[in-house]
């Protein structure tokens, strides 16, 4: 059965790694729902957040293949209840009258969105949150004339503090897995043999 997975991959910040990682998905004909890449608080370390819908019986094999890539440091696969996650969206709405403008600002206010930019002709509204919140906001703004809309990929933080910090040491300049940590990481809780 398919489930939604948020895969968080920490890598060295080298060119070509994005390609290497996405090949793992494309050769299996897996469609990536969203992909976000940025540098982390650690210099030279990048963080990939990849969202896919995938078969729960096959996810472990996929993660193992990603772990094999040279330059990949740590990989976590998470279901939605294991991460805090969100996205950010921008809506450009044409406001032809004062009344229209008031209505759009009211919608933004009600939905905890903020006005990122305002001019005589249009307003740019910034909304962050879960995908469904963003969709609701879009749905409400559309009748008022959304002329441009863009949405980021998902970003996510692992909820389990222990799980993250234990393996994050591999991202340190002198951090190496012990054999036990390596085995534990391969087992990854529910997938143990």
């Amino acid at each position: 059965m398919k489930r939604r997975y948020t895969i968080i991959v920490f890598t060295e910040n080298n060119f070509g790694l994005l390609n290497r990682i996405t090949i793992i998905f494309s050769r299996r004909r897996i469609n990536i729902e969203s992909l976000t890449v940025s540098e982390t608080e650690r210099k030279g370390i990048s963080r990939f957040t990849i969202v896919i819908d995938y078969d729960e019986t096959k996810i472990r094999k996929l993660i193992q293949q990603i772990r094999k890539i040279i330059g990949v440091l740590v990989v976590f696969e998470n279901e939605d209840d294991q991460v805090f996650f969100g996205q950010i969206a921008y809506f450009k709405v044409i406001t032809s009258s004062f009344e229209e403008r008031e209505k759009v600002m009211e919608i933004a206010h009600r939905h905890q969105a903020k006005i990122a930019f305002s001019s005589d002709d249009y307003i740019v509204i910034e909304k962050s949150g879960k995908e469904e919140d963003i969709s609701t906001t879009l749905h409400l703004l559309e009748p008022h004339g959304v002329v441009e809309y863009c949405k980021s990929g998902r970003i996510a933080i692992v909820k389990d503090q222990h799980r993250f910090s234990k393996y994050a040491k591999n991202m340190d300049p002198e951090g190496w897995y012990s054999d036990e940590e390596f085995h534990e990481l391969q087992s990854n809780g529910r997938h143990s043999f």
Binding site: T11, E12, F15, G16, N19, R20, I23, R27, R60, K61, Q64, Q65, R67, K68, I70, G71, V72, L73, V74, N170, M171, P173, G175, W176, Y177, D179, E180, F182, H183, Q186, F193
Partner: protein, 587 residues
């Protein structure tokens, strides 16, 4: 004769090691490449020069006494030769190629090395950095081509990076589960001087990369418990045993436990063929008993193998009754195809060393008898017929049997891909380890001829015999020129049935004998060999076979023996595609 050729011959015949002096000079990127290779203990390079790698070739000219270069006739030949070299020498093989078509010609061999876990380091020249992405002359995005088929690849555009990246390349290629690495170097980085003196440090670790780990105690305990209780245990030996040099440990383990052994295609020669516990080869054209009894074993211990689909057939019916102990260095193999009861992520040697003292001595007489019964059936229906000529037509099996007898099972057999490969795998008797090279995972036609001279370079003291079909031979036939120029005494047997035999067999069995474009109108191979300066003989009749093989083996130089074999013979047993190991058929 050129100096490089003289070197090649000296290295091949005497096994000489190159000498070099260390430097702390400021050198060019090109010289840094050559010095790095010398630091890594490289003595042989297979390659083909061209515009974008000329600075490296120029540097190589100055170090031609230290590094032996074999000029192949096509870059695919360089990769296969490097594979053959790596497997026999026990260290990474090295290839050079220029940008564009040079690099793309490497691709087949790199993919082959990836699937068969062979350590090779390919160095390609690239257009200058300022031309990258402009469709410049002979520019291809070799990095994007290489990514899915290499263990690691990297593009260097700064001369200073060269020693560091090459050290990383060699470490990655040879450590853990070995594999191919490609390093693409822009022409500017080759020409530019380094900004600091050349220093080289071999790598011992890389962040985030854990090539091997020791087996877990709990896995050893569980495996031992399963093995000690097993009534019908069965051991599968894979390429990993050869890669980790665990042959002695395997023998000790088997002699203590008395477990029957079967080999994968790439695991052949890791265990002596004449050992009473050896039951033959697994897989689509493997032996009858090991395939059938896979589904009767209560415990399967798979050492350094990956449960390839050619071994397992239909996974839905594969070894469902067995508890599986899977030993492999690559964690991603665990549960990829077969879910193991015990997943032992470890080097085969270390895993067997841990198991040997812990397992009980045992005997499995009645279990062995079951193998014997099925072997007798296979012998009567298949093997005996494969050894018996009728109407003076020579059988592939008979050629291999006699070759094996005459070489006392000590030659290195390098097989290409197809019916002749399966005959060679089934009927070669191996008494020495590292005696079998073939393209297993990718099934690359054209592999054997270049791999055979690579193997000869890697093990100059071993007799190397390439067994090639007429179709495969023509895919890399130009490498006869490399063999002739290098003066390598490689023995070549072409089994000629004027067909793409394996495809014809499938068309006969599964496509109602519609022979769609499988018949070959072949050239005169002996004349072609003669044109390259290689002696040869065509054997047409069974009564000429013995003396022809004797001439081949006794030749002190390269020799081609073309043998006309029965035209429409089939290779059995056979597990039809998509069927299970139980469905293997004898006719």
């Amino acid at each position: 004769m050129s100096i490089a050729t003289e070197n090649a011959q000296q290295l091949a015949v005497k096994g000489n090691k190159p000498k070099h002096e260390k430097t702390d000079k400021i050198v060019s990127g090109s010289e840094a490449v050559i010095l790095s290779l010398i630091e890594e203990g490289v003595d042989t390079i297979f390659g083909y020069p061209g515009g974008a790698i000329m600075p490296i070739y120029d540097a190589l000219f100055h170090y031609r006494h230290a590094l032996n270069h074999i000029l192949v006739r096509h870059e695919q030949g360089a990769t296969h030769a490097a594979e053959g070299y790596a497997q026999m020498a026990g260290k990474p093989g090295v290839c050079f190629a220029t940008s564009g078509p040079g690099a793309t010609n490497l691709v087949t061999g790199i993919a082959d090395a990836m699937l068969d876990s062979v350590p090779i380091v390919c160095i390609t020249g690239q257009v200058p950095e300022k031309f990258l992405g402009t469709d410049a002359f002979q520019e291809t995005d070799v990095m994007s081509l290489a990514m899915p088929i290499t263990k690691w690849c990297y593009q260097i555009a700064d001369a200073d990076e060269i020693p560091y990246i090459l050290a990383k390349a060699f470490y990655i290629a040879r450590s853990g589960r070995p594999g191919p690495v490609l390093i693409d170097i822009t022409k500017c980085a080759q020409f530019d001087s380094m900004t600091k003196p050349f220093r080289y440090e071999k790598r011992k670790q890389i962040k985030g990369y854990k090539p091997a780990c020791k087996p877990r105690e709990k896995d050893i305990t569980k495996a031992v418990e399963l093995l000690n209780q097993a009534k019908r245990p069965f051991l599968f030996v894979g390429h990993g045993v050869l890669l980790s040099k665990a042959e002695n440990e395997l023998l000790k383990f088997i002699e203590k436990t008395d477990i029957p052994v079967a080999s994968t295609l790439l695991g052949l020669s890791a265990f002596p063929s004449d050992h009473p516990n050896y039951k033959g080869m697994l897989g689509m054209h493997g032996n009858y008993a090991p395939n059938k009894l896979t589904n009767k074993a209560d415990v399967i211990i798979a050492v350094g193998m990956r449960f390839d689909d050619r071994v397992t057939g239909n996974l839905d019916t594969y070894a469902k009754q067995a508890k599986v102990i899977h030993i492999d260095i690559d964690h991603a193999e665990m549960g990829k195809n077969v879910i193991p009861t015990v997943a032992m992520i470890a080097d085969a040697k270390e895993a067997l060393q841990a198991l040997i003292p812990a397992v009980n001595e045992n005997k499995h007489e009645s279990w062995h008898q079951e193998f014997k019964k099925l072997y007798d059936e296979e012998y009567e229906k298949v093997i005996e017929k494969d050894f018996t000529a009728h109407d003076e037509l020579i059988k592939m099996g008979e050629v291999i049997r006699r070759l094996s007898e005459k070489t006392k099972g000590e030659a290195v057999v390098v097989a290409d891909v197809g019916q002749h490969q399966m005959s060679a795998a089934r009927y070669s008797k191996f008494r020495k380890t590292d005696s079998w090279l073939t393209s297993g995972g990718l099934g690359t036609m054209g592999y054997a001829l270049p791999a055979s001279f690579g193997a000869k370079m890697g093990a100059p003291d071993r007799e190397v015999v390439a067994v090639i079909g007429d179709g495969c031979f023509q895919m890399t036939i130009q490498e006869l020129g490399t063999i002739a120029q290098s003066g390598l005494p490689v023995k070549i047997i072409v089994l000629n049935n004027n067909y793409l035999g394996m495809v014809r067999q499938w068309q006969q069995l599964f496509f109602d004998t519609r022979y769609s474009f499988v018949e070959l109108s072949n050239p005169d191979f002996i004349t072609i060999a003669k044109g390259f300066g290689i002696k040869g003989h065509r054997c047409m009749h069974a009564d000429d076979l013995d003396s022809s093989l004797d001439t081949l083996i006794n030749s002190t130089e390269a020799y081609l023996l073309e043998i006309s074999v029965e035209k429409e013979a089939n290779v059995f047993p056979m597990m039809p595609s998509g069927m299970g190991v139980d469905d293997i058929r004898l006719d």
